[in-house]
């Protein structure tokens, strides 16, 4: 199963947004230059590399500050990306910027603009869309996979303290209980994916004061990590800081993919650590069962470089061009297995040789790969070379 992810687009309409440029996507700008227009660039990237996907996911914030013209623009563009990718579905969820929580455009109906989009938002059948809006979640089930689509911005524009509520995500107790009951009724699948906008726990890599995580998500994480309903992969947006990690808990804790923003302007501290990114996520249940893993996946990432277009992600872009997930073991155990592959006659080990002997390594988080390399160097005097894109090229005793 292959999923394309375009998150936090934050498109803006310069007729409304006169002061600043919250994104590289200005909806009045000519879409003819793939080096200056992120969506035009993406179309070129998809054509050049003949990229295909089964599903295109947008985990929220299509528009900036609920601009209705930008919402319509992006929704249309996402549909054309969906057809270019040959995808069966486009699935989105509401981000805090998609909902008119500050009532700029409408005095009482914060989600009216999203609900009037055509085709119906968030891209499902009429019945499924109704369920999404009515119950704040919908479980989309196919033979091999199920997607739990959650609206973590459901209470924006309302609540006792409207401004406070708009500043965070939320999953209520009743939603949580309804989800648990829906999952219990549903058959287990090899692939279980949660799509939501807000992040599930406070996760500030930079020392910023960000308390916008989803309130109530600790219970959700416990539910998904209990192994009762299968192994889960979470895809969320909101932070603009690309991150791939495992959730807290035991061995069944979910894989959590915090997608970076497709093209929002990044504030200075973040821009030093991350880039705007587009992703293709491959989930491979066959590989998982071959290697006795609960889940096995790879993510390819591309960076948006203004005036240059989409380029394979580099080492300091957030996610590197290629990262894996699903293979969990202690760093020292992995390092020992690698050391065992060195023979006395072989002066160095190519990554391809390592993969053929230890295929699970392709599903190691890129951060774990870095940790293994450090461990190899410090404990076993084994050094490695890496390519510009962060991929390990070869290892040798130093």
């Amino acid at each position: 199963m292959r999923i394309a992810v375009a998150s936090d687009i934050h498109a803006y309409d310069p007729a409304v947004e006169k002061e600043s440029s919250p994104s590289h996507l200005n909806i009045s700008e000519s879409a003819s230059l793939p080096t200056r227009h992120p969506i035009a660039g993406l179309k070129k990237l998809i054509a050049d590399l003949d990229l295909k996907a089964d599903i295109l996911i947008c985990p929220g914030d299509m528009a900036d500050k609920a601009s209705t013209s930008a919402l319509t623009y992006v929704w249309n563009e996402l549909h054309s990306l969906k057809s270019l990718l040959g995808a069966d579905r486009l699935i989105a969820t509401a981000g805090n910027h998609d909902v008119d929580s500050r009532h700029k455009y409408n005095n009482f109906d914060a989600k009216g603009a999203l609900q009037s989009l055509l085709p119906q938002f968030p891209g499902l059948s009429e019945q499924e869309c109704d369920r999404y809006w009515a119950r704040n979640f919908v479980l989309i089930e196919e033979e091999r996979w199920r997607i739990l689509l959650l609206n973590s911005s459901a209470y924006h524009g309302g609540g006792k303290d409207q401004a406070k509520e708009a500043g965070q995500g939320r999953i209520s107790e009743s939603t949580l209980s309804a989800i648990e009951s829906a999952l219990t009724k549903s058959d287990k699948r090899d692939l279980n994916i949660l799509v939501c906008h807000h992040h599930l726990f406070r996760d500030n890599a930079i020392h910023e004061s960000d308390y916008s995580e989803m309130d109530g998500a600790d219970h959700l994480l416990r539910l998904l990590g209990s192994a009762t309903h299968g192994q889960w992969v979470v895809v969320h947006g909101h932070k603009h800081h690309p991150k791939l990690q495992y959730g807290a808990g035991g061995s069944a804790s979910p894989v959590i993919f915090g997608a970076g923003s497709l093209c929002a302007s990044l504030y200075a501290e973040l821009a030093a650590r991350a880039r705007n990114q587009f992703y293709i996520v491959d989930l491979d249940p066959m590989a998982a069962s071959r290697h006795s893993l609960d889940v096995a996946g790879k993510i390819h990432a591309w960076d948006w470089i203004p005036n240059s277009g989409w380029k394979p992600a580099g080492m300091r872009s957030g996610l590197p061009h290629l990262s894996g997930f699903g293979y969990r073991a202690t760093i020292s155990a992995i390092a020992s297995r690698i050391v065992g592959l060195f023979s006395t006659s072989d002066p160095f080990l190519r990554w391809s040789e390592l993969v053929s002997n230890l295929p699970e390594i392709e599903y190691l988080l890129h951060t774990d790969v870095d940790a293994v390399l450090q461990h190899l160097k410090a404990t076993h005097l084994i050094g490695a070379t890496q390519s510009d894109r962060g991929a390990v090229v070869e290892l040798a005793r130093i």
Binding site: P14, A15, S30, S32, L33, F348, V393
Partner: protein, 624 residues
């Protein structure tokens, strides 16, 4: 809110600089003579204006490009090539990076030393990459390239890299190709660090401090020879050749250009040097002095332009064929897509033995029209005893001398000349109403495109889409509009290139100079007494001012003027004086000129008579 909406024009949208070798190979059509020459086991100097395909040609010599290239002739070229190409890109090796190395705050010799060292490091990286390609390619996938690849064991790679590291004074993390590359990247950042540090340290001990870094004194040529020799010995192919390709020399710092020009004299049989540069450069004089490299002897010049339009037709036909095939069209010839050129009637007659001169033909009509409204043309016919009614009965030699030679001139004169009896001399306004369908048809289109692949793709691409939509020849109107747009965009580009005439305090843009020439030729041809062979090219004579010379150099590099061949065979020019040029045919529709080289006129004579201060009008109304 109005946003700047810039449509990429054919003159700027595409640049092979940003493409990988594999991407270049996807669509590469070899310009026959040029690519054959470049394949030869000799040093080469590829000279051409912007967009003439210099970078593409060089990049195509690399192994990964050759390996992925799908073209009917690809196997022939792959068999023929007998060197491993090492491509040194200009944009990373020089320019901004070297410019940033403490310029203006360090003495020149220090900047030069650091700059050369950075350049050497880039050459080393390119060589290591080429060695890696050569050792890691799969010989079974493309049999005609099998001989280029070598089988290098891990032990050999380590031994080679250890050997090279010592000579290049590197301490890589791992003694592998990738390890060397990383170590060279680190060296590049060290060079930048040294430059920055030296800007704040006391200047007195600068030289001592610089001298303490041994690696700063490594030369790219010696180091390359060392590594090549080590590689060749290790794989048991002592004669294996390596061609170092240096692109866009015009943007390189002068010291590097000098080193590379002198490297053309290198006599090491394992090393070839192939350089690319734009045609005009002030210090091309390096190539002229005694002891400098000699064209034909030390290197082969490869000129990427076609002074005579016929020379470019073969390449244009090949490009068209490939683009039609890509669009899914049945194979057809260019006349079936664009129709015949208006200027071609004479040739047509010669080829088919059907006289295009007999009464009732379009050519005959044009001759008769002109004779009616142009007494000077009628006089000319009278003087040569030509009766238009019996013109088609004349012998080929008679007609060739008097009539056929002037067919294009007659077509232009008839098109732009109004009726003497009605309104006297034509005004600019009258001329501007003419739609230039005069320049349509396959051969005219090819001539206007000048064999420039970038222009070809940009101009012919949309026309092919039109052809595919209707599957009939592209209408003259659509062709005319496309040509008009292209000419006007090229003119807009030339307007942005500064030129300050000595009699003017402000810059008027290069276009104003070219306009003086183009309008002079047009006025001569259309309003002067009829002349079947009027001046259409110019010689830069001794009275030409320095400012004009500089401007012409820029025009040459932009492809706005084309060097006409002469006896000296010089291709890279340090001075334009004494040389003969024509205007690019891309500009011809704007001035109303035939697509011929024509007779020659002295430039000073043209400029002297050009009316100064008069607003310059373009004959073409923009159809954008």
């Amino acid at each position: 809110m109005t946003q700047e909406t810039v449509t990429p024009s054919v003159f700027e949208s595409f640049n092979a600089r940003n493409l990988s070798p594999k991407q270049v190979a996807e669509r590469f059509i070899p310009p026959p003579r040029h690519f054959d020459d470049l394949m030869l086991r000799r040093n080469s100097l590829v000279v051409g204006p912007r967009g003439s395909g210099k970078t593409t040609l060089l990049k195509m010599l690399q192994l990964p490009a050759l390996a992925t290239w799908k073209h009917p002739d690809a196997d022939r070229y792959r068999t023929q090539i007998d060197f491993i190409a090492v491509f040194v890109a200009a944009d990373v090796s020089w320019g901004a990076q070297l410019g940033a190395l403490g310029r203006n705050r360090l003495p020149q010799h220090a900047t030069d030393l650091l700059g050369l060292s950075a350049f050497t490091s880039h050459v080393m990286i390119a060589l290591i990459e080429a060695m890696n390609d050569c050792a890691s390619g799969d010989p079974t996938t493309v049999p005609t390239l099998a001989g280029k690849y070598v089988n290098l064991s891990k032990q050999q790679e380590v031994a080679l890299c250890q050997f090279i590291s010592k000579n290049w004074q590197l301490t890589p993390i791992l003694p592998t190709f990738q390890g060397l590359k990383l170590a060279l990247r680190e060296r590049l950042s060290l060079i930048a660090q040294i430059a920055r540090r030296e800007t704040v340290l006391p200047k007195e001990q600068l030289d001592e401090r610089l001298a303490s870094y041994d690696f700063l004194f490594l030369g790219f040529l010696e180091c390359s020879i060392f590594a090549v020799e080590a590689f060749n010995d290790l794989v048991g192919q002592p004669e294996k050749r390596w061609a170092f390709l240096f692109d866009e020399l015009e943007i390189a710092p002068q010291q590097i250009r000098r080193q590379l020009f002198s490297a053309l004299r290198s006599t090491d049989r394992r090393l070839l040097i192939k350089l690319s540069i734009s045609p005009y450069h002030e210090d091309a004089v390096i190539l002229e002095g005694g002891g400098s490299a000699m064209p034909g002897q030390d290197y082969q010049p490869i000129e990427l332009w076609y002074p005579r339009k016929e020379e470019g037709y073969q390449f244009s036909e090949a490009l068209l064929k490939a683009m039609l095939a890509e669009a899914g069209a049945e194979p057809v010839n260019s006349d079936e897509v664009f129709g015949r050129s208006v200027f071609e009637a004479g040739d047509f007659e010669r080829e088919s033995n059907v006289s295009a001169y007999r009464p009732g033909t379009s050519l005959h009509r044009r001759f008769s029209n002109l004779a009616k409204k142009d007494s000077s043309f009628a006089d000319y016919l009278g003087r040569h005893n030509i009766d238009l009614q019996t013109m088609h009965l004349l012998g080929e030699t008679e007609r060739a001398g008097v009539i056929r030679k002037g067919t294009s001139v007659i077509a232009v004169r008839e098109n732009y000349r109004s009726n003497e009896g009605l309104s006297g001399a034509p005004t600019r306004l009258e001329r501007s109403r003419k739609t230039p369908t005069l320049y349509t048809g396959s051969r005219s289109l090819f001539a206007i495109i000048e064999g420039n692949p970038r222009w070809f793709i940009g101009i012919v691409g949309p026309l092919i889409r039109d052809y595919m939509n209707h599957l009939r020849p592209v209408s003259r109107g659509i062709q005319a509009r496309t040509i008009t747009t292209a000419t006007n965009r090229f003119r807009a580009l030339l307007r942005t290139i500064p030129y300050s005439p000595s009699n003017s305090a402000t810059s008027r843009g290069l276009l104003s100079l070219l306009d003086s020439v183009g309008e002079k030729f047009h006025d001569n041809l259309v309003q002067g007494p009829f002349n079947p062979d009027p001046p259409l090219s110019f010689v830069v004579d001794s009275h030409t001012s320095g400012e004009v010379l500089v401007a012409l150099g820029k025009a040459l590099n932009a492809g706005a003027i084309i060097l006409a061949p002469d006896q000296t065979g010089e291709t890279l020019l340090s001075s334009l004086r004494g040389k003969r040029f024509r205007l690019s045919y891309m500009l011809a529709p704007g001035y109303g000129l035939p697509l011929n080289l024509g007779r020659t006129m002295a430039l000073s004579q043209i400029l002297e008579r050009a009316t100064s201060g008069e607003p310059q009008l373009n004959l073409l109304k923009d159809h954008d």
